[in-house]
């Protein structure tokens, strides 16, 4: 069913060549049917959906691959955990030291108080969108929130760039909102056809957000309660093993990892300094979780996707036709 590429609609032309040659004509026919007599916004939405699918095909993020399947399991949790963490950060904002910083990070990697309020509130929006069943809006809000965190941190950092040694840039880049970018990436990487839209699936999210809020609000100070966030993350991952989906523990780990990074990066840095590690070794240690995550995601996505729903009884081998 191949067609001249130039005769295909623009969104369909974005597919990789092999996929376009095999499926382009059929996709174009369905697109034409779906947009016939449709309004302009509906046509734009259809085209954007095809373009997004084409981009997934080109980047290995199709819903038949393991990492997007894990991201789809993680996405609801990301919305809940990000909202809980952000709400806890807003609560402790007046108590941070030095004033105007977040996450216990040092001043140059902080952000202004208005920036903290805006980014904190933005990270609550994906949860509201998910609870309303609006996944596209949740993804947009997630990208906006992560971008706002990076922009606010850069706005704080750039006027002070002259004070920074060149060899400090690496650690500053590590702290400029990369955990929040991981959250946004998980939301975007989750394929629409794998996202849980059921009311029961959404009903548990406020509980997850509240649990994150409590652990982050209570456990942010150094001291015995400082292990509360880590303990909460360990319990969450342990509970994930009770679910039938094999990728669920990976999904939970990915969703809670930014909370751990935000909570403990500066503390680990301090321990490294106190232990006499060099600057480069300290940066390597603090960068290790995110670097390992990137490598893990790449390795995971190279493997064949596990069957999402194995049938209860041995299936017949032949194809059913009518």
């Amino acid at each position: 069913m191949s067609t001249e590429p130039t005769r295909l609609p623009f969104p369909v032309r974005l597919y990789p060549r092999a996929y376009r040659e095999a499926n382009g004509a059929e996709t174009a026919a369905t697109y034409a049917d779906a947009t016939a007599r449709a309004s302009l916004p509906a046509r734009i939405a259809e085209g954007a959906g095809i373009a997004a699918h084409a981009l997934r095909m080109r980047t290995g993020l199709g819903s038949d691959r393991p990492f997007p399947q894990a991201a789809a399991l993680a996405a609801p949790l990301v919305a809940a955990v990000a909202a809980g963490q952000s709400a806890a950060q807003l609560l402790r904002l007046p108590h941070t030291s030095p004033p105007g910083t977040l996450d216990g990070l040092h001043q140059l990697a902080g952000m202004s108080v208005p920036g903290a309020w805006i980014t904190g509130l933005l990270w609550c929006l994906p949860l509201l969108a998910v609870l309303a069943g609006r996944w596209t809006a949740a993804k947009v809000f997630g990208v906006l929130a992560a971008s706002a965190v990076a922009a606010a941190r850069l706005a704080w950092f750039l006027p002070r760039v002259a004070e920074v040694q060149f060899d400090q840039l690496a650690s500053l880049l590590l702290e400029v909102g990369l955990p929040q970018l991981l959250w946004a990436f998980l939301l975007v990487a989750a394929p629409r056809d794998l996202l849980d839209t059921s009311p029961p699936g959404r009903a548990t999210l406020p509980v997850a957000a509240l649990a994150t809020y409590v652990t982050a609000a209570v456990g942010w100070r150094p001291g015995p309660l400082g292990v509360l966030v880590l303990a909460g993350a360990v319990v969450a991952v342990a509970l994930a093993f009770t679910r039938r989906e094999r990728l669920y523990p990976v999904a939970v780990l990915l969703a809670v990892l930014p909370v751990l990074l935000v909570s403990y990066t500066s503390q680990v840095t301090l321990w490294c300094w106190n232990a006499g590690l060099s600057y480069d070794a300290t940066v390597a240690v603090t960068a290790l979780p995110l670097a390992a995550t990137v490598v893990g995601i790449l390795l995971l996505n190279r493997r064949r996707a596990p069957d999402v729903q194995p049938p209860a009884s041995p299936p017949p081998a032949d194809t059913v036709t009518f």
Partner: protein, 110 residues
């Protein structure tokens, strides 16, 4: 099983359908609550083909447009049967409990 997968398999349970036919049938089955877009549909179809839950039944040209018809495989039929049974048992249990007499609240106002 996620709702989009359930809807696609259900739409294919009675006969093979092409892409746009699937989109229309999904809107009908869900009483207009779920409207699947073209990009989402083909992402799901790629996955279900890879999982051997559906297969291509035939290809044809109708009204100058290329049509590829998809059908349930035996494995897809078994998966849909198992999911329908699970949903049926949950619904039956919910109805049984709703029919049961409700206990009176203790300690109410005199």
């Amino acid at each position: 099983m996620q709702e989009p997968t359930l809807l696609i398999l259900t739409a294919l349970a009675d006969r093979p359908r092409h892409g746009y036919g699937l989109m229309q049938e999904i809107a009908t089955i869900s009483a207009g609550r779920y409207r699947m877009r073209t990009g989402t549909l083909y992402g799901a179809l790629d996955r279900l083909l890879g999982q051997n839950l559906i297969a291509v039944d035939r290809e044809e040209i109708a009204d100058g447009r290329a049509r590829r018809f998809y059908t349930l495989t035996g494995q897809g039929r078994a998966a849909l049967t198992a999911e329908a049974e699970r949903l049926r048992s949950v619904a039956a249990e919910a109805e049984r409990r709703l029919r049961a007499p409700r206990p009176r609240l203790q300690g109410g106002a005199a």
